[in-house]
Amino acid sequence: MNADWIWGLIGGALIGSGGAVYLLGNGRIMGASGILGGLIDGSGRNTSGERIAFIAGVILVPLVIWLTVADSPDTHLTSNTVVIIAAGLLVGLGTRIANGCTSGHGVCGISRLSLRGLVATLIYILAGAVTLALFRHLWGLI
């Protein structure tokens, strides 16, 4: 099996384990957009401690690995600032309107056989594939 796929499985298992700790421990759903969004727009003020701790973990652990053992990982993010800004706005707006992103709808939703989670996941994958096909292969912009 391709090494990338094995690392994908291992990384995925850790992501799912994180979600399991959050669910069984705190009784909450691990959705990155919901945790961050509730902190930014003030709707999750009464649970801000948990939200900040989660985000600190998400940022600090990769930082520590990067500084200690791993080579500088290349993120391959486009250098086109207009594309970055447009993409960021769409991701922020879309995840809050749909009430979930890849972690919430995809990982936590599908695993409990939620129809909403499954449909949201299929829609954003399809929308992403069409967007990429248009912008990369048809118009050559990204």
């Binding site: 990338d4 094995i6 994908g8 499985l9 291992i10 990384g11 298992a13 850790l14 992501i15 799912g16 384990s17 994180g18 669910l23 069984l24 421990g25 705190n26 009784g27 759903i29 990155a32 961050l36 727009d41 709707s43 701790a53 989660f54 985000i55 973990g57 940022i59 600090l60 930082l63 690995i65 990982p73 993120t75 391959h76 993010l77 486009t78 594309v83 993409a87 960021g88 991701v91 922020g92 879309g94 995840t95 809050r96 309107i97 749909a98 992103c101 995809g106 990982v107 409990r112 909403r116 949201a120 996941t121 829609i123 929308a127 992403g128 594939a129 069409v130 990429l132 096909a133 990369r136």
Partner: protein, 143 residues
């Protein structure tokens, strides 16, 4: 305790995103690039993540969360306009840059200036969302 468990959750999530390569936009866009050089890695990440979560959901049966409260009930499974419109917008942004909220946060320390711009834009989009949601709910209620 709640805060500590949240930190552990975030740490496992960040570690998983780092190791799986999901902070590499090339991998994510490779998954979406059906008409180009398709990369199935994301399916392995999703599969690896869904398995422990499925076990966790089974364990919620008849129990309470470790530090109190109750488990989240399954929301109404209605496929409303919000879910469809929001997911389309999110998918478009995801395809354009190859970043979703989790990896955007996880790669903050090494994602460079572009990663910071993405996070600020994403936060702006999140702040702009509540009025849009209200409007969608209002028009849905009136039709």
């Amino acid at each position: 305790m709640r805060v500590l468990l949240s930190f552990v959750t975030g740490g496992l999530f960040g570690l998983g995103l780092f190791l799986s390569g999901m902070t590499d936009t090339q991998k994510v866009q490779g998954w979406l690039d059906i008409f180009g050089n398709w990369d199935p890695t994301l399916a392995f990440v999703m599969g690896g993540a869904i398995l422990p979560m499925a076990v966790a959901w089974q364990l919620t049966d008849g129990r309470r969360p470790l530090v109190g409260g109750s488990f989240p009930s399954l929301p109404r499974q209605e496929l409303d306009r919000r879910l469809v419109i929001g997911s389309v917008l999110f998918g478009m942004g995801w395809g354009l840059a190859g970043l979703c909220p989790g990896p955007a946060m996880a790669s903050l320390s090494y994602g460079g200036f572009g990663g910071v711009i993405f996070l600020v834009s994403m936060g702006t989009g999140m702040i702009a969302a509540p009025p849009v949601v209200q409007r969608l709910d209002r028009t849905a209620a009136s039709t």
